[in-house]
Each structure stands twice: as C-alpha cells, then as structure tokens.
Amino acid sequence: MKISLNWLSEYIELDDYRKNLGELSRILTAAGLEVEEMVSPAIHWNHVVVGELLEVGKHPDADKLTLCQVNVGHEKPLQIVCGAKNHKAGDKVAVAQVGAVLKGDFKIKASQIRGVDSFGMLCSTDELGLSEGSEGILILNKDLKIGTPLSEVKEYSDVVFELNVTPNRADCLSHIGLARELSTLLNRKVKMPSAELKETKVNIDDQIHVELKDEESCPRYCGRMIKGVKVQVSPDWLKNRIESIGLKSINNVVDVTNYVLFEYGQPLHAFDLKKIKKQTLKIEKAKDAETFTTLDGTVIQLSNQDLVICDGEKPVALAGVVGGLDSGVSVETVDLFIESAFFKSEGVRRTSRAHGIETDSCYRFARGVDPEQTLNALNRATALIQSCAGGEVQKGYVDLYPHPLQRKNIMISTGQVSERLGFTVKASEFKSWMERLGCRVQMSGDQFEITPPSFRWDINIKEDLIEEFARLNGYDSLSENLPELSQEPSRHDSMYLFTRRVTKTLTGLGLKQALNYAFIGRLDHNQVWQNSQGSSFFGLSGGERAIELLNPISDELSVMRESLLPSLLKNLVFNERHGHHNGRLFEIAPVSLQKDKKFLQENRLAFVFWGQNATLWNKEKKNFVVFELKSVVEALLTSLGGKNWRWQQNEVVKNCPPGFHPSQSASLFYEGKNIGLMGSLHPALKDQLKIRNEVAWCELNLDSLSIRQPRSPQFKSLAKFPFVERDLAFMAPQDLAADQILTEIKKGAGPLLTEIKVFDLYQDKELEALGRKSIAFRLRFQSEKETLNDESVNQLRDKIVNSVCQKLGLEIR
C-alpha cells in the first residue's frame, strides 16, 4: 500500500525524519511493516528553485515559444525560452537552472533555442517526476519565497512509501492507522482531523428509513444525508492527495469517499438518494438467484449467503464489496446518502470470492476495520463533501449499533512472556508498551488483564501480546540459545537416505543430476508412453488418467507428471540446441498418479544419455550408448548390494511404448520383480524432435529398488587357490540372445565357474548370409578346496560345450 509522507504528516509530527528517511524506513521495517520502496522525486531537484515570471513575451522567431524573464533571486533575472502556454507574468514557477540533472539523467545546460539564449527550464510536473505526462508547466503556490530550493518546499516534495502490510495488520491500511502505529513506536501524539459540519433543521430520520435486518453480518450501520451537492472536478489539494497514492481522481464526491478510505481505513459508499426507491434501505441477505448489476455494469447472480443493501425494491449495493450501477453517484447526482458501516470480515470475503470481485473496500472489510471509527469517518467525509461539493447536511445521522462489539480480555503474566521470549521481562516495561499500543491494562503484580484496542482484530490470545511486546521491544534484543537435546535423535526418512545414496553412486559414475518441474504438458507424457497406463507393463505404476491442475500457468505446465522421462527429453533437446552433443543426466523425483479416486506418489529414478562420451585424441571405437547406460544401471545395482537381476528384451516388443526403440529396449527384473524399462530412443521420436545424437534412456521404480535397503556388505573369505581360464567360442543363430547361452553355460558348469564374460562378438558377410554369428566367452574356474588341474578343467569345459551345443543347437568353433 502507498503512503504519502505529506499526508501522514497531517496526523503526526515527522519533520525530523524528512532528512533521514532511511531511519524512518528502518523503524517501520523493524516493527513488521516492511518498507519495500521509497519514492522521493525531490532527490533529482538539485538546482531547481522557486522563480517568479517577470515577463512573458513572444519568441522573436517562433510562434509556439515564449521568451521569459525569470527572477530566481539573483541580481539579474534569467532568460528562459519556454514552450508551454499556461504561464503568465507574475506566476511562480519551478525553475531548473543550468547544472540541474532531472529524472532520467536529463541535464539542463545553457543553450540557444532558435537563436535566442536560454538559461534553464521551466518545469512541468512530469519533468519533476511528480506525475506521468502533464500539460503545461507547474504553477506554484503564490506565497512561496523566490529562490527557495523546490526540494525544501514541503507541499511539492512529497515522499511515497510502498508499505508491505501483512494480512494481520489491517489497522495500518490507512494514513491515520499508520500514524497511530508510529505514535506507539515513537511515543508521539496523533492529531485527528476535524469534522465541522453545518446541519440543516430537517431531520434525516424523517427522510429515510434504514433497517438493519442482519446484525450478525453487520454489527454497525451509519449514514448521513447531504442534499444539493454539485458533483464536479475535485479541488487541487484533494486531487493531489488522491493522485499521490496512485489513484485516479474522479469527481469531488467519489474522491472524498476514497480520501476518507485511505485516511481512516473506513470504506464508505455514496448513494444517489434520488435513485433509492421508497426512501428505504434494508441491510439483509439477498434472495437466492436474485440478480445485481455492479458499478462497472457486470451482472451477477446473488445467493442467500450474500449480504446486500436493498432499497424499497431491490439490492442497491453488495455490502462492503461494490455498489450498484443504478444507485451510484454520477454528474447528475444532487442528493446523497453516505454509508459508513462495519461489515463482518468472513461474509465480505465469502461474497468477494464467490463473485470474484476485489475492491479496496472489501480488501479492508475482509481484514477487519475499526468499529469505533465508523461514525467519525462518516462525519469526516460529510464535512469534506460539504466543503468540496457544497450542499446541505441533513440534521442528525443514522447509527444502528444495537450491540456494541466487546473485545475479550486476555490474561497474561510477565512470567509467560519471559518464558516464550527467553529473557526476563519487567512488569513495568510490559505495561508501558501495552498502554502505548492502545490496550486497556489492569495489572496485579506480574498478572495482567488486557483489553486490546478496537482496531486490532489480530490480538486475541496471549501469544499475540507476546509478539506485540517482542516486536515493540525490538527483535534485536532477543538472545540466542541452542536448545538442549531432550531425547535421542530419530532416524531420517529412509527414502531420503536411499535417494542420497543413489545420487552419490551415480554422480560418482560421472552423471549429472537434473531437476525438473513436477508438472508437464498434457501431450508430453503420451509422446513417450502412449497413455497413463503405458508404463505399467514395466513395473512403473500407471494412473487412470493424468492429474490436471484446475488453474495451470500454461498448457506446458498443466498436468502432474506420471513419468520423469518427458522432462528429461526436454532437457536433452534444450542441451542439443545449445550445442552439447553429449550428456549423461539422471533425475530422482516422485511422480503423481491417480488411482481409485486417490492421489498416489511413486519415487522414480530416470536417466537420459546422449552422444558419444568424449574420447582420446586417437579415435577409439564407438560404443552403443545404450550399453553404457546398461553398465551404469548395473553398477548402481551392484553398489546397492543387489543380488540378481536380468534384462528381458523379448516381452518389451509387445507393449513397446512410442518413446522406445522396439528392438533396442529391455525391461529390468530385479530380485524377481519388474522395476523399469531401458532402451534407445525411438527413431521416429528422435527425428520428430530433430535430435542428432544417439540417445538411450531408462526409468526405474525407486520404491521397488529401495526394498531391504540399506544392505551392508557381507564379507567372504578370499580364494586361496588359483583360478584357471578357458575360452569358448560358439557359432550361434544371429537372433539368439547372449543371455541364453550364458544361462546354459552356467547351468552346465556348476559351482566351479566363478566368472564368465563375453569377450568377442564376430560376424562377417559370410556369416551374416548364413544368419549366424560367432560369440566367445571367457570362463574362469576356481575351487575353494584345491588347485584345479588342467585335466579336470578340460573335462568340465567339454561337458559345458556338449550341454550347450545340444540344448541350443550350437556349434563350437
């Protein structure tokens, strides 16, 4: 909210802070009212002084320019050429002399304009930074002393604060409210504005009947009547005040109601009395499905939850939220009924939300206004309207306040305050601050009974008072203490620890960790998985459908992700576009799924590898990226103490999702359970996204992977006897998986086989034509009991060869 220092100064003495605005800002911020910005146009007013126009003549060589002689208090007047039209001899003006540097680094220099010397500039409000766009130059108040620096003239050198008022501090949403807060902080008095009115002899009660039918929603309703006003442009002082806090001046009546809103924090509404039917106003709940047209012409349908002000026929205002189109003030209005009320915050907020209407009025009612200022604000507004728009104030006022609001007393002891703040609080100190705050205080020893002021709706329990005391006493005076540990620390969440362990292993393997938004575009998922169920064939839970946000930022961020791969694909495309032709990324995050009307989360681990890893300067053979990925996954499984796993390639083909290459993908079975899918990116998708490098990716179910973790290593005695190696090369059908041969070899070999590796895969044109390949294994045999002799190993080898060749129909090479 914007606060004008000049306006604020009407209620509290602050002149001593004008030269030290930083300190004022610090005091407010330290009290919880954060000053976000301070705008002071006068900081650009070096060499800008008050001048008097001695002569205003025509420029000899230009019809549109004037040639002015300006007295700025020097011996000789300054000659200045000016292009404005609104000035005349005798006017006081703001003169930017040579040397001035105005807003936007606008340097004023001695110059010649159409052959005539000019020694400065007569300033407009725009050039002074007081407004955006202006016509003509600023004509100053006649009483100002010639030669005075303009920055020293209070009425022009205002400072505007942008104050961040937290929702609990509704009492500071006005200039008087802030003055009151400063009076507490600085221990100064608040000067309340006067409200002098001249009333006619005709009683208001004889002219309108106001009926409060819903006291629960509207504890207090006040009104006054003014007849014969002239709605027109506001006087300068009012217009300036309204504009200083960033509002638009509309007319004298509307401006006054806004002025009082920002002065007292009390929202007001002015009705055009002639439009009020049957001289009746009723404060009541609307009828269901009743329609109402707001000030701006929007037609809304009301419900019986909405509080309205009705005339004899229909609603004329949505209580505390917005006025009606028909009954508002217009240029033709002559008679007014001014409303000042206390509407309960819950109701105003409900109505405001239900109809999506936000106004300065409902903003304040929703946070709580002061029920004891309702009438004062009304009188102030009435007096100002009378002075700005004329008219006759009818005798008396409406004030329906059947049950004055009482604040509950709060019982508190300084012992409690001390305990919560961690230092000893003296009863006298506590009492003094509570009183300065405007509380009614009853004290007995260190026991207090405190009644909070009517404008502080946020103070209800003793903790609120503790905060008030701490805040006013200064948070800087809090000491620092490390609380003692009163019990054994508990264990970390196991998934947190597991995630950390996996991250450590993967980064150790040279991978970079990625992090993405939890929401993606609607189509991103299907591009990879076909639909929400697409991943469920591979041990990755699928939802019934994507979880949609009701109010997404954009289509690209509109559904919760059910897989990490779509995000990683985006990362890959982004990186390739930036010229990174290889990358090894992984991400660990939960995905969100919808099942049986429930929202579930599953933790996932996903990888994307693209491009060849940079090699040595002498060119090495290229590797398949998907094999590199496979090795990384297996290294991870090993690091987790994983016991057995296998890659299943055949079954993938049936349900192969569109993001995966059907002949280069395999699902992973880990300790008997399907936990994910790995493969090369489908070439069609690769083309579609214009990806140039080879891509492999994988997604695993981290929850499944975390079963029985952590596992600690189990030591096994080191072998005492040497090992013996034998190589076997088979001629096999081209599409026979190496895994099948391996399995058969293991079966045939028994426990003496301790290690087996594929060390050569060979195929030339001749073999290709035959549909065969040669695949060679290196077998390592070792016994825990003895040194194996060649003969027994050879026998075992022959046995393996026989069984493998027989079962799989292979030939040994």
Binding site: T29, G32, E34, T166, P167, R349, R353, A366, R367, L421, G422, F423, D458, E463, I466, E467, A470, Y475, D476, L478, S479, E480, N481, P483, L485, Q487, P489, H492, D493, M495, Y496, L497, T507, L509, G510, L511, K512, Q513, A514, L515, Y517, A518, F519, L549, L550, N551, I553, L557, M560, N571, F574, H580, G583, L585, P590, S592, F599, N613, T615, W617
Partner: protein, 361 residues
C-alpha cells in the same frame, strides 16, 4: 686317406707338446674373446659373444674340459692361467655390458618421448544438482543438533495445507499464497509446512524434524518459479522460546554461510506461528557492505520462522499448555542463489549441462 694321415700327424704333434699347445690355444681364445666383446655393437650381440665363449659349449668351457687330459702336475698351473683369463674376460665383458646397456637406455629414453601437453582421455565428473546439494548440506548441519528428515506428499488436502495450519477458509492469509488447485479439497502444497502436521499427528513430542521438498505457487516471472523448494524445521519441546529459535537459526546460518554471518529477525506474520519472524542474514556476498544481491541493504531475506501457534498444536492433538515449539522454513533456491551467486532461477530447471558442470566441485 692322405688327408687322414695328415690329421693323425698333427695329433701326434699335439700330444707330444700337449700343455704348451693348450696355453697357446688359451691365448688365442683370449684374444678373440676380447676382440669380440669390445666389438659387440649392442647388448644382444654381446650376449651372443658370451654364449660363444662362456656358454656350455663355448670355447672357454671346452678348453676347461680339456684340462682333464693334461698330466696331473701340469693341471694346477694351467687351471690358474685359465681362471685368470676367465676373470679378466669377465671384467671386460661386464664393463662392455654396462656401457652398452647405458647407451641403449639413453637411446630408449630419447625415443620414448611423450608430448604430455596432449590431453588425457576425458574422465567425466558427476555433479549433484545445486538444489539437493543445498538440501543435503542443511540436513547435515541440522542433523548434528538432533533434527531428522521427514517427507510428505506434493498433493495435499486443503486441511493439511491450510486449515490445520490455522488458515481457515475465507481467511485473508490464503491470499498470501497463490495456490494451484487439483480438484475440490486438494491442492499442490504451497509450503512444506503440512509435513509439520503429519509429523505431530504421527509422533509424540519431543520432536525435531526437517522437511525438505518441492512446493508450488501459481506465480511465474523472472524471480518466481511455480515449483520451487523449501526446507521446514519443526521442534516441539517444553518451554520453547524465541531465543531457542534464534539460537538454532543463527547456528545454522553460521555453519551454512560462514562464521562471520549474522542473523536478524524482523517481525512478520504467518498464520501458523505466533510470534512470527522474518529471517535475514548479513549478506554473505558483500559481508554486509551492500551489493546488488542485497539491494545495497547489507541483509538478505532467507525465510520465515516463529513459535508454533497454539491453535496449530491443538489441531494436531498436542496440548499447548504443556508443549510448545518453533518452526522455520527457508527457500532452497534462495539459499542456492545466495551461496553460489546464481543470477537466474530458470537455470535450476533448464538442466543446461554448462550449468550442472559448475557443480562438479
């Protein structure tokens, strides 16, 4: 036959002066061997020389065998001679071998030169993303004073995200957070604070927990991300005070940013704490001198804190007369921005390899 006769005659000659003949032979072999050793161009040839003279069937060894055919009395003298020659040749041989080996080593050293200005093969370093990295670092610091990690779901009920945290419906505090709605009654959590409630419901005090994780706000611009991260700390114990809170945060900040960094509290408002405080620390970048990061103020805002509101304790089934608590929450992105000097929040989710590489160290 004539030939044979000539050999026979020679043989007769020999045996008549057998001793003298052997000496002569020895001298001859000595001369030849010396020459061969010194002439050997490299260590391989030198070795051949060794075999030729000293080997099993080498000439010196053969001569040795002939020793037996000398008359007994002549044997010691000749044996000594033979030995002297042997020792002398051995010396020459070793000297020559040393010389050749040395030459060869020098040559090898010269020819095996590697240009070590050439790069080695790339060894890829891994990198933890700065967000989990900051989270882990915070967890490590606060674990030391007894806090342990808890987690909660991203999609929360309205109850856990708001109501249980003393933010009833139609309360203006709901405007403080732009909420993403999933469906009636469900939201994307706007803060990690719901984990406080889950913990208090599931565990008995005293409690010291941390809840790191992703949160969501419907707000996206140069300085706001719709999905960012927070870490929440909750302590429930007896007689908890604002000075306990400030002491804990101050310890944390010194550990995280450096021992010279100061902590400042500013009054603020959060519906779930009372008293509430905004937490600032002296700017770690300029050490409080004033810079762009801290908008010349010397202080940077890092999070919110306060004593747990009694209403929140009650809602979670904890008696506020017996137990109190404090809670604080920090924005992880904010911490990373301050700690590493990152200047654009979009970098956190673009996963630009150039960005991630900066976290290899």
């Amino acid at each position: 036959m004539r030939h044979a006769t000539a050999e026979w005659v020679e043989y007769i000659d020999q045996i008549t002066n057998y001793g003298g003949m052997l000496v002569e032979k020895l001298e001859k072999i000595k001369g030849e061997a010396e020459k061969a050793i010194l002439m050997a161009p490299n260590s391989d040839d030198l070795y051949q020389v060794k075999v030729q003279f000293f080997g099993k069937t080498g000439s010196l060894s053969l001569l040795m065998k002939e020793l037996g055919s000398l008359p007994k009395e002549e044997r010691p003298e000749f044996g000594q001679k033979l030995n002297t020659v042997r020792v002398a040749l051995d010396e020459i041989y070793l000297e020559q071998e040393r010389k050749l080996k040395n030459q060869e080593l020098n040559k090898k050293l010269e020819t095996e030169k590697l240009d070590l200005s050439l790069p080695g093969p790339d060894v890829s370093l891994g990198a933890t993303h700065p967000i989990p990295r900051v989270i882990d670092e915070i967890v490590d610091i606060l674990s030391r004073i007894g806090f342990s990690v808890r987690s909660g779901p991203l999609i929360e009920t309205d109850h856990y995200n708001f109501t249980a945290l003393n933010i009833p419906e139609n309360h203006p505090a709901r405007d403080m957070q732009d909420t993403f709605y999933v469906e009636q009654g469900y939201v994307l959590r706007t803060h990690t604070s719901p984990v406080q409630i889950h913990t208090m419901e599931n565990e008995k005090p005293p409690i010291r927990v941390l809840a790191p994780g992703g949160v969501f706000r419907n707000d996206s611009d140069a300085s706001h991300s719709p999905n960012f991260h927070q870490i929440e700390a909750l302590l429930i114990d007896k007689k908890v005070s604002m000075s306990d809170l400030k002491g804990t945060i101050s310890f944390f900040i010194k550990e995280f940013f450096g021992p010279e960094i100061k902590t400042r509290f500013r009054p603020s408002f959060f519906p779930f704490t009372e008293p509430s405080a905004e937490v600032d620390c002296s700017c770690p970048l300029c050490k409080g001198e004033g810079c762009k990061m801290c908008s010349q103020t010397g202080w940077v805002e890092i999070g919110g804190s306060g004593l747990v509101h009694p209403e929140v304790l009650k809602q979670a089934g904890i008696n506020p007369e017996e137990w109190q608590g404090f809670a604080f929450g920090f924005g992880i992105e904010r911490m990373a921005i301050i700690k590493y000097g990152i200047n654009d929040i979009r970098l956190f989710v673009e996963n630009d390899v150039r960005f991630l590489r900066q976290f290899e160290s």
